[in-house]
């Protein structure tokens, strides 16, 4: 899709609403809201073409806090509502706000199908690995063994990794960010907006009340440079405080190598190719976990594919052009009819 007229005079103020934001003080969602409000003017999208859709959960209150068209819908059904909006009017910039419970549990079906269809909707998935609004039950992304209100003896369920699910559903854009890095969020949100097709951005978000510090191993100031790797298309996959570590592939696996050790040169470090139609490395990158690997951040996959609504409108245009029946009156009179006099 294209945005014909660029609205150049807008700033983050244009997306601010004079309402009380009711997330808990210290909740990671505040930072996401601010990053979205800053990213939107930079995308060049007209402010009145922006629509925020959400399901149910803490994060899903988002549409009430941003000055845009908004639809706070039903638990898990956001992808379907957003699909209907985008298909009905492809000129809109449609954003879906969801959480780990909303998208991975009750809305799992809609989540995989919007990705499979590749409808041009941007999904921001707030993953705090807990049910916040219902006060502390485990979610489909809660680590196995976690003690929560509904798992007093530890969860016995294997958690989903949103990236894995997205790739399995043939998602064409998958990125990961942390709520503690506004610059990273802004950059990635803009890339998500530009991608043609469904963009999924997983936001590692802190729940200050029910799952505080859930991502601190990744996001903590003292560890983040060692434990995160920020991926950019066309750049070598290097990380670490001293920028001296990188990913190389040995056999079927990635290995974290130190540049200068064991004969590893900077040129040996793999270059990130987010556009690669072969998904294998994207999948491997999305699955990297501590302590063996840094956690991958940034745009992991951004590949081209057909976009649902573009194909649909092409079919409509072709049918309109080719079919001789131009209105309902003609339709009613087509085929087998009988004159009775």
């Amino acid at each position: 899709m294209t945005f014909n007229t660029k609205d150049t005079d807008i700033s983050n103020q244009d997306f601010k609403l004079d309402v009380q934001v009711k997330w808990c003080p210290g909740c990671g969602a505040h930072a996401v809201l601010s990053a979205v409000q800053k990213a939107l003017p930079e995308t060049g999208i007209e402010k009145e073409k922006v629509v925020f859709v959400s399901g149910i959960g803490c994060s899903s209150r988002f549409p009430y806090y941003i000055n845009a068209y908004g639809f706070h819908s039903l638990h898990g059904r956001g992808p379907a509502i957003a699909s209907g909006i985008k298909i009905a009017n492809p000129r809109l910039s449609v954003w879906l706000i969801t959480g780990d419970g909303d998208s991975m549990a009750i809305g799992g079906n809609h989540f995989i199908h919007i990705l499979r269809r590749n409808i041009n909707v941007n999904i921001l998935l707030f993953n705090n690995k807990i049910y916040g609004l219902t006060k502390g039950q485990y979610s489909p992304t809660t680590p196995k063994g976690s003690i929560t209100k509904t798992s007093p003896d530890g969860t016995i369920e294997n958690p989903f990794m949103p990236g894995e699910l997205a790739m399995g559903a043939q998602g064409t854009f998958y990125a990961r960010v942390v709520d503690t890095n506004p610059k990273m969020m802004r950059e990635v949100f803009m890339k998500a907006a530009k991608h043609k097709g469904t963009s999924l951005v997983e936001i590692l978000q802190n729940c200050v009340i029910f799952n505080n510090q859930v991502h601190s191993e990744i996001t903590g100031k003292d560890v983040r440079e060692e434990n995160q790797i920020y991926l950019e298309h066309g750049k070598p996959m290097i990380f670490g405080k001293n920028r001296d570590k990188g990913l190389i592939q040995v056999g079927q696996k990635f290995i974290v190598a130190k540049i200068g050790e064991n004969g590893v040169r900077k040129e040996d470090i793999l270059v990130h190719d987010s556009h690669n139609p072969d998904d294998t490395r994207h999948y491997m990158l999305s699955r990297m976990t501590l302590p063996d690997y840094p956690v991958a951040m940034g745009v992991i996959r951004d590949k081209k594919s057909t976009v649902y609504e573009n194909m649909l409108y092409k079919q409509i245009a072709k049918a309109r052009h080719e079919n001789t029946i131009k209105n309902v009156n003609q339709l009613l009179r087509s085929g087998n009819t009988f004159h009775i006099d």
Partner: protein, 617 residues
């Protein structure tokens, strides 16, 4: 042989065979020929829920009933005058729905011990005297078909698939029809396969010549054209009429049609039909489930389209939560429920009226919906149109109830001019309207105004949380909530000012008012009209507007000594009427067999009531 022609006012023909025998096609061909000859007609297919149940078994029998008339025809008929049975199972399954003295046309080639066993016959039905009261035509349909086209270069499977044309040929002779119409039908049906056109036409002629030659049928029937008004007609099923009504509403309102559904029997044809209508701008979305169907339709309505979802009973249950969302965000949404036998999966291919209370009340919270119901197959066009009109103009969801009988049944329909359909005026908002608020309302209808994403100066938010009156801000205020509940309810009640008054058929007042709703119209109408002719003081009110009811409902109910509410359920509309108008006593006549009412059973009940013997049933 001299052929004796009997003139008849109406005839019911039932075609029955294995699911793969092509009985639906032959039935359609026969009804089209009747329509060409100017007969009134009504059809009803009767097919199993399995696609190809084991051959030769009762479970695999597929039927198609056609009722044609010189007189007005309102139902597919109670009992068949002519039964085509391609095998013993088809005979066994349908004999109880066949009139004594009826003509039975059987494919004698399939009447052997192997087939008797499959059909569950203990005795040879041809030899045990059980068919003595029928005129049995034992036609070697399979063998004569094979002999006729053995040199046409078709394989055995394709050859046997043309057997139905042998049957059609016999029927064309029996009813003095022009073979040309049958040939044209085949030429159109198989237009991409000329070799099949040739073979089928050859078999059609073979059947016709066979009937003419044998001595088994000494009389043929002539059904003269019906005395319907002049005009252009077509034969149409309820599901197709529903789809076309939506297209007409979209065209009239200027709102693009967006239908999102999950395939479900017996509603799938609506989705299939509209999927072919891209040239008229229709968008169809085959959703991943029933919930995605309705919610994506709600999304499309938010964006300015006419959002529609079609389903059947179990699907309506899954959509409940989302209907509540549409009630509270106050957007147009049409939900079409093609009712079938329930509960649960129930009887997917059979008809029932058991979803009325679900449509009226099956949601959490105070969640009123407009509920309307179509009375006949062709009228599904008008009621789909009406559902869209009410939904768009009143900014609230409308549930349209049809049923399996209407959906698959067909009747002749006088084709309307869409220019003459009532206007549909969406309550839109101008860009940058400074007075716009999401819940500001039209003072007469109480409908809020529609503003679409993309419009300038109208950014707003909707959602399932309760909203403050006028401003649309999230509100948990107790008094505001009560006000909003009352407004949503009052808005639906006021729809009564925008729908027609209830009409009465038959006597305007008198001894008995027959009350029905939706798809039972044809049977109730025929029964009441017959009894009125017999001098009975009987009238009938068929309700198509259920919530709200027409404003004169109570007045009509007051004009009769007795009221009987007839439904294909346990008494759901009767329960509803009792709650609305408790001052009247209601008798009930209910049937829950997955089958439509028969005229004969209705008349028997009504006569008992008129004789004061209502306790006898």
């Amino acid at each position: 042989m001299t052929k004796k022609v009997i003139e008849v006012d109406e005839v019911v023909v039932k075609f029955a065979g294995d699911s793969g025998d092509g009985m639906q096609l032959t039935g359609t061909q026969f009804s089209d020929s009747a329509a060409f000859a100017g007969n009134d007609l009504s059809t009803f297919p009767d097919y199993p829920s399995e696609i190809r149940a084991p051959q030769g078994t009762i479970a695999g029998v597929s039927g198609f009933q056609v009722h044609i008339g010189h007189k007005e025809v309102q139902t597919p008929g109670d009992l068949a005058d002519v039964l085509v049975a391609m095998n013993p199972a088809a005979l066994k399954a349908n004999l109880k729905w066949t009139r004594p003295n009826a003509t039975l046309i059987i494919d004698i080639d399939n009447f052997d011990n192997k087939h008797y066993k499959k059909a569950g016959f203990v005795e040879d039905p041809l030899g045990d005297g059980s068919l003595e009261c029928y005129n049995v035509v034992k036609a070697p349909i399979t063998n004569l078909t094979r002999a006729k086209i053995k040199n046409f270069g078709l394989d055995n499977k394709l050859i046997d698939k043309t057997k139905n044309q042998f049957v059609a040929g016999i029927l064309y002779w029996l009813f003095n029809r022009d073979l040309k119409i049958g040939e044209d039908f085949l030429a159109e049906k198989f237009k991409k396969k000329p070799e099949l056109v040739k073979a089928n036409i050859a078999v059609l002629h073979a059947g016709y010549n066979y009937a003419e030659t044998i001595e088994a049928m000494t009389t043929t029937f002539q059904v003269h054209p019906a005395k319907r008004g002049k005009g252009l007609f077509r034969n149409i099923t309820g599901n197709i009429a529903t789809a076309w009504g939506l297209l007409a509403a979209s065209e009239k309102s200027g709102r693009p049609l967006y239908l999102a559904s999950y395939p479900i029997t017996p509603a799938s044809e609506i989705l299939q039909e509209l999927a072919k209508m891209k040239h008229l701008g229709a968008i169809t979305f085959q959703a991943e489930d029933e919930i995605a169907g309705i919610t994506s339709a709600i999304g499309a309505s938010f964006a300015g389209s006419l959002g529609v979802t079609s389903t059947s009973g179990p699907g309506l249950a899954l959509k409940s939560e989302a209907i509540g969302l549409a009630v509270t965000v106050e957007l147009p949404l049409v939900i079409i429920n093609v009712q079938r036998g329930g509960p649960s999966t129930g009887l997917p291919t059979k008809t029932e009226q058991t979803d009325l209370l679900q449509a009226l009340y099956g949601r959490n919270g105070e969640s009123p919906c407009i509920v309307i119901a179509a009375p006949t197959p062709a009228s599904c066009f008008d009621f789909a149109y009406e559902a869209a009109r009410l939904s768009i103009e009143h900014m609230t969801p409308v549930i349209l109830l049809t049923d399996g009988y209407l959906a698959n049944g067909s009747e002749l329909w006088r084709i309307p001019d869409t220019k003459k359909l009532p206007p549909i005026k969406p309550q839109l908002t101008e860009d940058n309207d400074p007075t716009y608020f999401p819940y500001k309302r039209d003072p007469v209808k109480l409908a809020r105004y529609w503003a679409f994403p993309g419009q300038k100066g109208l950014r707003h938010r909707v959602g399932g949380l309760e909203k403050e009156d006028v401003t649309g801000e999230v509100s948990h205020d107790p008094f505001n909530h009560e006000i909003m509940v009352m407004i949503r309810n009052e808005k639906v009640d006021r729809v009564a000012n925008h729908i027609p008054l209830q009409t009465v058929i038959g006597e305007e007042k008198g001894d008995l008012l027959v009350v029905g709703w939706g798809g039972t119209y044809g049977a109730l109408y025929t029964a009441v009209k017959d009894m009125q002719k017999e001098g009975k003081k009987i009238g009938m009110a068929q309700f198509n507007y259920i919530n709200p009811l027409p404003k004169n409902t109570s007045e009509i109910l007051s004009r009769y000594k007795k009221i009987v509410v007839c439904e294909l359920n346990m008494g759901q509309f009767a329960m509803y009427l009792r709650s609305k108008f408790p001052q009247f006593p209601y008798l009930q006549y209910n049937k829950v067999q997955g089958l439509p009412f028969m005229i004969s059973e209705l008349k028997r009940k009504f006569n008992l009531i008129l004789e004061g013997k209502e306790n006898d049933f």
